[in-house]
């Protein structure tokens, strides 16, 4: 069986600077794969390349064998690869529930004209989206705050809302951008459970992260980047014992592996 998502020799240069250099790895259906690396290792760039928010310089990303790099971001989302953002990127002036409802866009059956005219398809869409939004709110434990304006939410809830927005699109692969950043231990553990729950919904998860303990706990496999290149790939155990990885992390000042 071919892997769900293939990252194949993906390279990105900004002027003379190579941010990501010929990175190759596969993501299998149903797994949780994490991309880690010290600051400036090219994680975020890789993340944007996969979701096609940046154009690759060379190499390509394949989804079910089909090239998705350099497509418009919304096309990539249509194919089922959906990214989340860090906490501030939400629809601030909408309620939490509306944030989720609007994110059901990919599940629409009716056309824009249909929505304008209020056709049967549009009505059933809207009813369905409402139901689904409530389900997602329940799944993430956000029922209580569905009516709150998103801009009024505390940080922890914002992160969950980001995931909720991603879930609403009904993706095959969900790309999570540093889901544990800035969280304390309890919050991290809750989010770890949440991500596992996402996987249980049949969604493959690819996450980019800093927080080592959480990554070790949650990932099936881990890809490690340093200076834009892949230096290791394997299960959490394999990574923990990989000398190159240890060296890379010791070399950088602010990150230390483990606790």
């Amino acid at each position: 069986m071919s892997p769900l998502l293939q990252v194949s020799a993906v390279t990105k240069r900004f002027g003379g600077l190579t941010a990501v250099n010929a990175v190759t790895f596969d993501v299998a259906e149903g797994e949780i794969l994490s991309v880690i690396g010290p600051n400036g290792a090219g994680k975020s760039t890789l993340f944007k390349l996969i979701s096609s928010f940046l154009r690759t310089t060379s190499g390509q990303v394949l989804f079910k064998g089909e090239r998705i790099s350099d497509l418009a971001p919304h096309k990539v989302a249509q194919k089922g690869i959906v990214r989340t953002f860090q906490e501030t990127t939400i629809f601030k002036n909408m309620t939490v529930r509306d944030n989720i409802i609007v994110s059901h866009h990919l599940r629409s059956n009716a056309s824009l004209a249909g929505y304008f005219l209020g056709t049967a398809a549009a009505k059933s869409d809207e009813a369905e989206f409402g139901r689904s939004a409530d389900e997602i709110l329940g799944f993430l434990g956000l029922d209580e705050i569905g009516g709150e304006l998103a801009s009024n939410l505390p940080q922890g809830h914002l992160r969950a809302l980001g995931i909720a927005i991603g879930l609403a699109t009904n993706p095959s692969v969900l790309l999570l951008d540093e889901p544990f950043a800035g969280m304390n231990h309890d919050e991290t553990m809750r989010t770890v459970d949440l991500v596992r729950g996402v996987r249980q919904r049949g969604i493959t998860v690819l996450l980019v992260e800093h927080d080592m303990p959480a990554v070790m706990k949650i990932s099936d496999r881990i890809v490690v980047l340093n200076f834009g290149e892949k230096i290791a790939e394997g299960t959490p155990q394999q990574i923990q014992n990989n000398e190159k990885v240890i060296e890379a992390y010791l070399g950088s000042e602010d990150d230390a592996i483990g606790i």
Binding site: S51, A72, V102, F116
Partner: protein, 326 residues
């Protein structure tokens, strides 16, 4: 707000503009208000378009360009090709809509002040083009445009020939107000349907919108072309009222006014541009008795209003209860 209350509101509004206003004018004898209100209605249609572009997060200072194009399309079709005026209203709108797709595709990628400035330049471009083209009759403009003719179906006259009317004031008032009601009903529907929801997602975060699969450039162009459609029909009717169109019939000042109407009424409210237009246009008209101090008083009031209600008149509590953020 309950549905029945809403219906009563709409009915009262329709009664107001179609029956009460003409009645009041008859009673007070202020016939000049017909034209003032006709202008308000037409300008508020164009402003509604600008408001829609605000709604997708773009500051549009180019509506004058489309109003001008609409006016010319109608005038040229009527004068040179003998097309019925009534047909030219939708045609003017459609041609503006199509034109705006061509123009919008590249420029809608711009954001913030950059988009605003490009649209501002667009108004100037429209004027210069009208001056340069032979079909628009260049600097001489098109004048002596015939009044709208009659429409009849199966021998039944639905709309009388305007040139046979003793006064076209009332006729144009009804025409303008009808178009306004239709435009705002359409806009209201649009904003309160899922499309409005999607538009707001663009307004708030285009990146996120595209990450959830919204084709942002498509939606932007659609919204912009609806906006330009509205500009076009307003321009077409103005050309018919003044029976003339010149390159300077809609200029940068108009484009800016359309934008100001939206700000003044409130960007968060569908009916904001309507109220904004009423206040700005009527305000100027009412102040005409103040002679040379007119502009001074007008601008002072504008500044004061802005200081008191920076989020538009409709942000007043009084209105807020009725029309909460859609």
């Amino acid at each position: 707000m309950s549905r029945s209350k809403q219906i009563i509101g709409v009915a009262a509004f329709l009664f107001g503009v179609f029956v009460l206003v003409p009645l009041m004018i008859k009673l007070t004898g202020r016939w000049d208000f017909y034209y003032t209100l006709t202008s308000v209605a037409l300008l508020s249609i164009a402003s509604a378009g600008v408001w829609l572009t605000f709604y997708i997060g773009r500051i549009n200072i180019g509506q004058g360009a489309y109003a001008l194009v609409g006016g010319y399309v109608s005038a040229i079709l009527v004068v040179k090709y003998g097309v019925s005026f009534w047909l030219t209203i939708p045609l003017a709108g459609l041609i503006c809509g199509c034109l705006s797709i061509l123009i919008g595709l590249p420029i809608l990628r711009l954001k913030g002040v950059y988009f605003a400035m490009v649209t501002l330049v667009l108004t100037e471009v429209a004027k210069l083009t009208a001056l340069a083209l032979p079909i628009t009759n260049g600097a001489k403009g098109i004048s002596s445009i015939p009044l709208p003719g009659a429409i009849s179906i199966f021998g039944l006259t639905i709309i009388p020939d305007f040139s046979q009317l003793a006064s076209t004031k009332l006729a144009f008032y009804y025409l303008a107000v009808t178009l306004m009601v239709l435009s705002y009903a359409g806009l209201y529907r649009l904003v309160h349907s899922r499309i409005g929801h999607l538009c707001r997602s663009l307004q708030q975060n285009e990146e996120l919108a595209s990450s959830i699969g919204v084709n942002i450039s498509y939606l932007r162009v659609i919204a912009y072309s609806v906006s330009s459609f509205l500009g076009g029909i307003a321009g077409a009717v103005f050309a018919a009222i003044s029976q003339s169109i010149y390159p300077s019939s809609f200029q940068v000042a108009d484009s800016i006014n359309f934008m100001l109407n939206c700000f003044l009424g409130g960007l968060g409210y569908v009916f904001g541009p309507m109220l904004g237009t009423l206040v700005l246009y009527f305000g100027w008209d009412l102040l005409f008795t103040t002679g040379k101090f007119q502009l001074l008083i007008y601008s002072s009031l504008l500044i004061a209003l802005m200081l008191a209600l920076p989020n538009g008149i409709l942000s007043l509590r009084l209105f807020n209860r009725k029309k909460a953020e859609p």
